[in-house]
């Protein structure tokens, strides 16, 4: 098991190293981040990005229109790698993701994956398991919000 972790870490290192294109961009964003905020202040519940619980202001009633639109987006941009069950394909299955993670974390991660993969402990743990960095699929804010609603629906919200 220890050996496996070591290999996984090595792999991760390779991925990070081979991601030359992104690191410049990430570095740029990081500088901005550290300039504005104390690095210690990273909130693992919220993640890093523009979304907060207040901003989302979710209710516990499903918005069916949003969920439908989210499903359509998922077919183009997500379901190549994610199943609706708890089975891992390339990335983890979506079943119960909305109970595992805060909605603002999900929103931040799907719209801002690279900086979070560089510092978020949960995202990094998943990377060690999956070995593929979640791609930035350039989701518009509205698309991301619709996806979140679809995930909520997938988790049984009515």
């Amino acid at each position: 098991m220890k050996k496996l972790t070591f290999i996984a870490t090595l792999f991760t290192a390779v991925i990070f190293a081979s991601c030359g294109g992104d690191s410049g961009k990430a570095a740029e964003e990081q500088t901005i981040e550290t300039a504005n905020a104390d690095p210690e202040s990273y909130d693992p519940k919220r993640g890093q990005g523009k979304f907060t619980a207040e901003l989302l202001a979710l209710t516990d009633k499903l918005d069916e229109t949003k969920a439908k639109a989210g499903e359509a987006v998922s077919l183009v941009k997500c379901t190549s790698c994610h199943k609706m069950t708890d089975e891992k394909l390339v990335g983890p299955g979506w079943k119960s993701v909305t109970t595992r993670r805060a909605p603002e974390w999900i929103m931040n991660f799907i719209t801002n994956p690279d900086p979070m993969l560089d510092k978020d402990p949960e995202a990094q743990a998943m990377l060690e398991l999956c070995l593929v960095r979640m791609p930035n699929q350039n989701l518009a804010d509205e698309e991301a919000r619709n996806l979140l609603e679809f995930m909520r629906k997938n988790d049984g919200l009515k």
């Binding site: 792999f11 390779v14 991925i15 081979s18 294109g21 992104d22 410049g24 961009k25 570095a27 077919l75 183009v76 941009k77 379901t79 190549s80 790698c81 394909l89 390339v90 070995l131 593929v132 960095r133 791609p135 930035n136 699929q137 350039n138 989701l139």
Partner: protein
Amino acid sequence: MKNKSILVALAALALTTALQSCKPKDSSNAVSGDAAQKVYVAPGKYDEIYNFVSGGFSGQMSCYGIPSGRLLRVIPVFSVDPEKGWGYSEETKPMLNTSHGFVPWDDLHHTQLSKTNGEADGRWVFGNANNTPRVARIDLKTFRTAEIIELPNSGGNHSSPFITENTEYVVAGTRFSVPPDDANGDVPINSYKENFKGTISFISVGKEDGKMDIAFQIQCPGVNFDLSRAGKGVSHGWFFFSCYNTEQANTLLEVNASQKDKDFVMAVNWKKAEEYLKADKGRKQTVRYAHNTYSEKTHTATSEIKTEVIVLDSKTLKDICYFIPCPKSPHGCDVSPTGEYIVASGKLASVIPVFSFDKMIKAIAAKSFDGEFDGIPVIKYESALYGEVKKPGLGPLHTEFDDNGNAYTSMFVSSEVVKWNLKDLKVLDRAPTFYSIGHLCVVGGDTKKPYGKYLIAYNKITKDRYLPTGPELSQSAQLFDIGGDKMKLILDFPTIGEPHYAQAIVADVIKKNSLKMFKIEDNSHPYVAKGEKETKVVREGNKVHVYMTAIRSHLTPDNIEGIKMGDEVYFHVTNLEQDWDVPHGFAIKGADNAELLVMPGETQTLKWIPTRVGISPMYCTDFCSALHQEMTGYVRVSPAGSNVPISYGTGVTPATAPAK
């Protein structure tokens, strides 16, 4: 016997010494102390300048960063490029269609950035095909060839693709005069004077979309049009072409086209030509030429054969064309930033004549002519001459300008760049090049507002500049700092193909518009699969269409059965990624063409005709993730007439039929 061998040895030694002393002085002396600092661009930092360099006989255009000299991209234009699938994918094949059919190679000589108000605006860069005459437009949002138009009535499209100050027109002038396309061309070659014509094409460019169209052609006497430049500022509305072989020789041009003391610069009043065109004075000529455009929505090129062009006759329609005598086979024909001076370089001449636009206009008004050449008035040399740069060096070719009123001329024979002042025509400085410079480029050096700072020399001979690589060497560019009074050599860098002309532009103008990926929502390719749900394999007779997707790190479908010998299989691969710099490649064993390289959000198609029964592996060719090596699949090929049904999938084993 012994004496004789000593003699031979001495002679050899003498010869070596002599040869060495012929070379410019030790080149290390030519490099100044702070050169490294000036060209050093730290890892992760951007260059200041984009440099678009013709690829010559590679048929492509290359893009370098200045001052580092780093190669940023080779843009495939007129030649196939298996690395990028250019000319191999079904979508790009039509881009290389011509009236002669599919042409996989050409010779790209000159690059021109689109202009607004006489300054490079960074929207498009144009390139010319010298062999099978064409002009290409490259979109600088994508750094891809967006359009190619063929030129009828032309041979050797050399004086091209020079453009007017608001990109109203791109011109193309024939270097090798030929009989017009609608005439019987089956004539004796030595009937050149009677049957051969030189044609100049004015290609209009759409203001918003850049779409090219041959607005009109001007039929001119059969001579060789070499280079050209648009007037600007005061001379906007005119175009200037250098001509050689006014002897109208058709054989051994090396001798026979160098007989006369003076050839010509041809001044073309294109505003006047527009008037004649409006007044319906042109002749509609039946021709055939291809017009190819690439759509970023369908990710597909279409090729159309057009059949008509309007030709204006320079002989009967007066006041369009005038000849200005110019010493000894002029080559470069360059217009100063204000548009007042036309610098023509007789490549065999010992002076560089500088003509005045103002004097030329006055000479035309006063009819200060020296007779006619084939129906076109010849302006008296002195009447148009501003002055001559005396003893500039040997073999002047091309001139560019800086932001301080200076001109820089390349000297092929004496292998140097000569800096001179535009006002008093005095030589100010000279710098050796290694070796035999052809074109040169100053940043913004052909615009109304040159940026200056750097000059790049494109040399024809590389010899001992780099580690030897056998008989064939890369060609060489040399970067000079021209910020001070003296030119300083600061860098050598190798180039692809043979660099002819190049243009340079401040990076900020272009980089902010650079596209990062294609939006999958906007993809309207007829065979796109927007998501794995839309993947499928469809048989239509012996054609099989595979709607395939690629994402890190699997192909869908990655197991395909039911392909039979005699089938034509089309892999339509859609890259589902929506992030910058994540292309996926696609290749299958035995394919007789190339790979695909599919950008995020794009669909590209590889045609594959199986040549044997069995299993053919396919895979992603562009290292995309840690599990890239897993991004593979298999296609089962059965004999013709087999009853193995079409089945496919990823992550599911298709219901297979046993081998027959």
